[in-house]
């Protein structure tokens, strides 16, 4: 299943609800464009809700890293919410779990931006 991205605002935070796969050719480019678009429009608080992302590959990991770095360079921040077991597994293997701010519940994630 390809990636679908829905955007919503919660207390000044842009939440992107991701669903599907973040892989080469199936979602990594979509994710990159969505985040760059948000930052260019002035969104500086971006939360990626990954509760429905059941698969990420090395290309998808690269996009997460790129999103994090792009955001940081623009004084914005990208945080992660509700990692599935599989995605968490891969982030831990690659030590990227320690790089990102990761939250299990949305309220805590939103509060962290204040």
């Amino acid at each position: 299943m390809a990636l679908t991205i829905a955007s919503r605002e919660v207390d000044g935070v842009t939440v992107l609800d991701l669903s599907g796969r973040v892989t080469l050719g199936e979602g990594s480019v979509q994710l990159r464009e969505a985040i760059r678009d948000l930052i260019s429009k002035g969104s500086h608080k971006i939360l990626l809700n990954m509760g429905e992302v059941n698969y990420i590959d090395s290309s998808g990991l690269g996009e997460l890293v790129s999103a994090y770095t792009t955001a940081k360079n623009q004084s914005a921040s990208v945080k992660l919410l509700s990692l599935t077991h599989k995605v968490k597994d891969v982030l831990q293997l690659t030590k990227l779990y320690t790089v990102f701010d990761v939250f299990d519940d949305e309220a805590s994630a939103i509060a962290s931006y204040k």
């Binding site: 790129s66 599989k86 293997l93 790089v99």
Partner: protein, 130 residues
């Protein structure tokens, strides 16, 4: 990328038919997908004239998958460590690391031309399965 999806689907079928638990099945399909992506992108450099080939075998004790490309070859020992602090935030360079992490054995063989990866996942003896 169609070939990558086909190879991934074949690996998933092999792992499923071997009765692997969901996590191990995910590890096998992910490693195989990474190997196939590497073969198409870095091995064959997206050249449509070059092919990738894959074989899938369950010999009763292990799943053995080979993925070969027709590229210029790969020296696995020359790859930077993606966990090193200076590489951690790089956008690329995690594919081979993931393959090695997710499988029990990974072997590289230089072809003329190309590279062949053999990915092995050992099957637990029936008595050890829950």
């Amino acid at each position: 990328m169609e070939s990558v999806s086909e190879v991934e689907a074949a690996a998933d079928k092999l792992a499923s038919e071997a009765g692997l638990d969901e996590d191990t099945r995910f590890h096998v399909t992910m490693a195989v997908r990474e190997a196939a992506v590497n073969a198409v992108l870095h091995g064959n450099d997206y050249d449509p004239a070059k092919k990738i080939s894959a074989t899938f075998e369950n010999n009763g004790t292990s799943l053995i998958i080979t993925i070969a490309d027709e590229g210029i070859g790969l020296d696995p020992d020359s790859l930077p460590d993606p966990l090193a602090p200076e590489n951690l935030m790089r956008g690329t360079g995690r594919g081979i690391f993931l393959i090695r992490s997710l499988m029990d054995e990974v072997h590289f063989r230089q072809l003329h031309p190309g590279t062949e990866l053999t990915l092995i996942k050992h099957l637990a003896p029936a008595s050890e399965k829950s």
